[in-house]
């Protein structure tokens, strides 16, 4: 019964995603999966407004389910574009690596792994050498972009990082980069990591202003 229900859940999610994709006009789909370049914001003369606009563009990545799913506000990671609770029911555990006996690497590998000989509803198991949850103080689930922005600048909630280190993390961290290479069957975050890194760099260069909400 449980297995049946789980499969129904997976199938239902995939149907929702598939239906969403079919209803989205091609032009809009194209736009939603790309990022504006940092340079294109030069037309905004007010530096604070430009900084906010840059962060809002970066927010297309930051608030994408591919990122938020592993920045949960509870002990449970999320899954899928619908951001449902992870199944099987796994928990944060020490270092965000899962509980004893049921760690992330019980299933997740060092790379995305194709699922062989199954229905097309699940094409791959995501993976990365550093696969783990972000610490609870870095939770993004349920927060507005403005709240996430303030949090990113707070050393107590950003892993004691300087803004330069935040730029480096966003632009080059391999697990962050997984968002653009999420494996077969999973929608990547918009744009490229290089474009995203330039947006974050430009945001920092313009004073790292935050959206009001």
């Amino acid at each position: 019964m449980k297995i049946k229900l789980l499969f129904s859940g997976i199938a239902a999610n995939c149907l929702v995603v598939a239906a969403g994709a079919m209803l989205t006009p091609a032009s809009e789909a194209q736009t939603s999966n790309s990022l504006r370049s940092a340079e294109s914001f030069q037309s905004i003369s007010d530096e604070r407004a430009r900084s906010v606009a840059l962060f809002e563009e970066a927010g297309k990545v930051i608030q994408h389910p591919r990122c938020v799913n592993c920045h949960p506000a509870t002990e449970r990671p999320l899954q899928g574009m619908a951001m449902h609770l992870h199944q099987p029911p796994v928990f944060r555990g020490e270092g965000g690596m899962g509980l004893v006996g049921m760690q992330c690497n019980t299933c997740h590998s060092e790379q995305n792994t194709p699922v062989i000989g199954q229905a097309d509803t699940l094409k791959s198991i995501p993976g990365n050498p550093a696969w783990h949850l972000a610490p609870i103080e870095m939770a993004w689930e349920g927060k507005t972009l403005g709240q996430i922005c303030v949090q990113l600048k707070d050393p107590k909630r950003n892993g004691d990082k300087t803004m330069e280190e935040i730029v480096e993390h966003m632009a080059h961290d391999d697990l962050v980069g997984w968002g653009w290479q999420p494996g077969d069957g999973r929608e990547p975050v918009p744009g490229t990591q290089e474009e995203f890194g330039k947006l974050i760099q430009a945001w920092v260069n313009t004073g790292a202003a935050c959206p009001s909400s």
Partner: protein
């Protein structure tokens, strides 16, 4: 060519590197104690030990285990395995039994790491092993019994 140890013996496999470890264990090595349940790491029936840690063999490409040590239900040994076997028999844990080799592999791995797990620790470690007969209450009790039997 992938070389690995299976239940203490060196084995090789030179088929498709994407072949799931579960298929190699069952179809090529003819060790059918490890079960196919869902094929997508949702049920835990295919659990084996990979380098001493529980691992879902259905989503483990054989290429990934080159140089690794794989233990299946047929090869499990040691005091935790013996304690679990006795506790499982003592409480008649299985009903249909299909999921039980996966349950046992997870239970043994848990006891190897935590010799006296709490209810919460048992629930956390076993959460990925489904049982359609709902023998969960006996599984949890048997793990406690196994832990107690190892104390002396």
């Amino acid at each position: 060519m992938v070389t690995f140890t299976l239940n203490g013996e060196q084995r090789t496999f030179d088929g498709d590197p994407d072949t799931p470890l579960l298929w190699v264990i069952r179809d090529f090595e003819k060790l059918t104690g490890t079960k196919y349940g869902c094929g997508v790491a949702q049920c835990g029936a295919c659990t084996v030990h990979l380098d001493g840690m529980p691992r879902r063999s259905c989503i483990t490409p054989i290429a990934m285990i080159d140089g690794s040590d794989v233990v299946t239900i047929e090869g499990i040994s040691g005091k935790e395995a013996e304690a679990v076997q006795a506790a499982w028999k003592g409480l008649d844990v299985p009903q249909c039994g299909y999921c039980q080799s996966g349950q046992i592999m997870s239970a043994v791995a848990l006891l190897q790491i935590l010799p006296k797990p709490t209810d919460d620790e048992i629930d956390g470690a076993m959460a990925g092993n489904l049982c359609r007969c709902a023998t969960y209450h006996r599984i949890r009790a048997a793990i406690h019994n196994a832990a107690k039997s190892m104390e002396g």
